[in-house]
Symmetry: C2
Subunit: 311 residues, 2 copies
């Protein structure tokens, strides 16, 4: 197996690009995919201050390393969810990475941010763990970015994440989510611009990247991921890709290029109407307290949370 670029022995096979790469040219390929994504979707420039959510997983570590090496101003934020050993390992990984490279990192715990533990939040609100975790993290990444004076929120979602989400949204014809699925969500009142520069890379590719760059990442799966639907869609997309190489990227990018606009009725608005949480000013769906503020309300704690708005 020879590198498609230089003809030297290749280590990594990338059938969907009809290419094989030696280590050096694979790393160049990864960097170029990210760079092209940032350019193509005009995600940010060197004048922006980026807030990057870092979990300690391979995707956010890949994004962090590339953005820092390229001289972007990045403020990394790690939210410690309090998931026992898994969270402790994650925190150690991001702290060690930042310290070794002298990078800006804030670590916040769910408990400090919310006033109670994730386990308690799960009890008072019957949302699935992944949905609860995701909603709270999105909320605080946006708020911390505002507090820190950042201009853009960056996340490490990759092609596999996005196609799994797209498949789920299509199978259930979730029109609202379909309209909003895009690598860039523009800033709106209460919400910063949000971007996903890794959407041209797969799980396998970010996995190779951190391995070749000797970047430590948290291994294993989150202890709360049991019953999550996203891995099911990832598995299915993996099955489809095995039988039809390249379809994953076609499915996603053809959606972005040809299909999405036809679906959008009112552009890429991130909420149906302009309602804001009376407590914190965050966008809401119904003009009531936002999900996070409802969760914090003393009345909600200890109740079954059934009256909480489904933000």
């Amino acid at each position: 197996m020879k590198c498609t670029v230089c003809g030297e022995p290749a280590r990594i096979n990338a059938p969907r690009h009809n290419s094989k790469f030696c280590e050096r040219h694979f790393l160049r390929f990864v960097f170029r995919q990210v760079w092209r994504t940032i350019e193509e979707y005009r995600m940010f420039t060197h004048r922006d201050t980026l807030l990057l959510g870092v979990s300690g997983g391979k995707d956010s570590m890949t994004a962090w390393n590339i953005l820092a090496e390229q001289g972007y101003t990045v403020h990394a934020v790690h939210i410690d969810m309090g998931f026992g050993d898994y969270s402790r390992r994650s925190e150690e990984i991001v702290r060690t990475f930042a310290a070794a490279r002298d990078l800006a990192l804030s670590v916040q715990t769910f408990e400090e941010l919310m006033g109670f533990t994730f386990q308690h939040a799960l009890q008072i609100h019957r949302r699935r763990a992944c949905a609860l975790c995701g909603t709270v993290r999105r909320y605080f990444l946006n708020r911390l970015a505002r507090d820190l004076g950042c201009t853009v929120v960056v996340t490490g979602h990759n092609l596999d994440d996005e196609t799994a989400t797209l498949l789920g949204n299509v199978l259930h014809w979730q029109m609202g989510y379909l309209e909003r699925q895009y690598p860039v969500l523009e800033a709106e009142a209460g919400l910063l611009r949000k971007v996903k520069p890794l959407v041209k890379l797969t799980d396998e590719e970010t996995g190779w990247y951190v391995k070749l760059r000797n970047i430590d990442t948290v291994s294993g799966t989150c202890p709360y991921s049991r019953g999550a639907t996203s891995p099911v869609y990832k598995d299915i997309m993996g099955e489809i890709e095995k039988r039809m190489i390249g379809i994953k990227a076609d499915f996603y990018f053809n959606y972005l290029n040809r299909m999405r606009e036809q679906l959008s009725s009112g552009g890429s608005s991130r909420a149906d109407k302009n309602y804001f949480c009376p407590e914190c000013g965050y966008r809401t769906l119904k003009g009531e307290l936002c999900f996070v503020c409802s969760l914090k309300r003393p009345a909600a704690r200890g109740s079954d949370g059934s009256s909480l708005p489904a933000d």
Copy 2:
């Protein structure tokens, strides 16, 4: 396992309907699903003369049996594709079924209709076997229906066929096909109304139906089906359904009810523009000879067919 309807021992499990059925109530269930589909989509009435394409497979035999038993005027047409033993068995099955019940049946061979064999057509035109077979059959079912004075063309496509097609069309974002995917296609100049009354039944359900009704069907797979993409999508939808019971029907019917209209730019037009074949009057895409007439053109026979329009 007890029948959800009568409490007698059940034989058939229908988890997506949260039901179990004894034989009698399963047959009633199948009949009702077909009846509801005909009513809901206003497919046809007893005043119509139906042309039903019958292959000898479980789906078209199910449709034939139900429509004949319900007293519809059905003219069945079997096109013998000349696929050796497979075609001989298919023909025998439809002839025996029709003779035993005194039903109207025309058998036509591909060779008589076209003037040459399917194998020859495959050689002169590099279309895949399934696409070639499907295009030619759709063409002649429509033409024979017109010649016989029928008002509606009926096919035996079931829920599994439709969801497999929908998944393929979505993965490739085939906008034109997506717009036209509906259980009823209205009549237009050159094309009769076309309907699919089995879209609420699965492969498994029509399989049980013919088994319980002792209806003989052709077994095994078509000798030309190797490399076909539809079974791949069926497998994948099967995998998804195994993990999320009921999603197949949700995916398809939510598409029909919520999504399809949003996609259609110009209603359910079956061709982009009003072009007609100068030879036979069939709808074409470009105002040239239709696919079947091109195939029949003496010049095309023996050539590689590369200049033929892709109707």
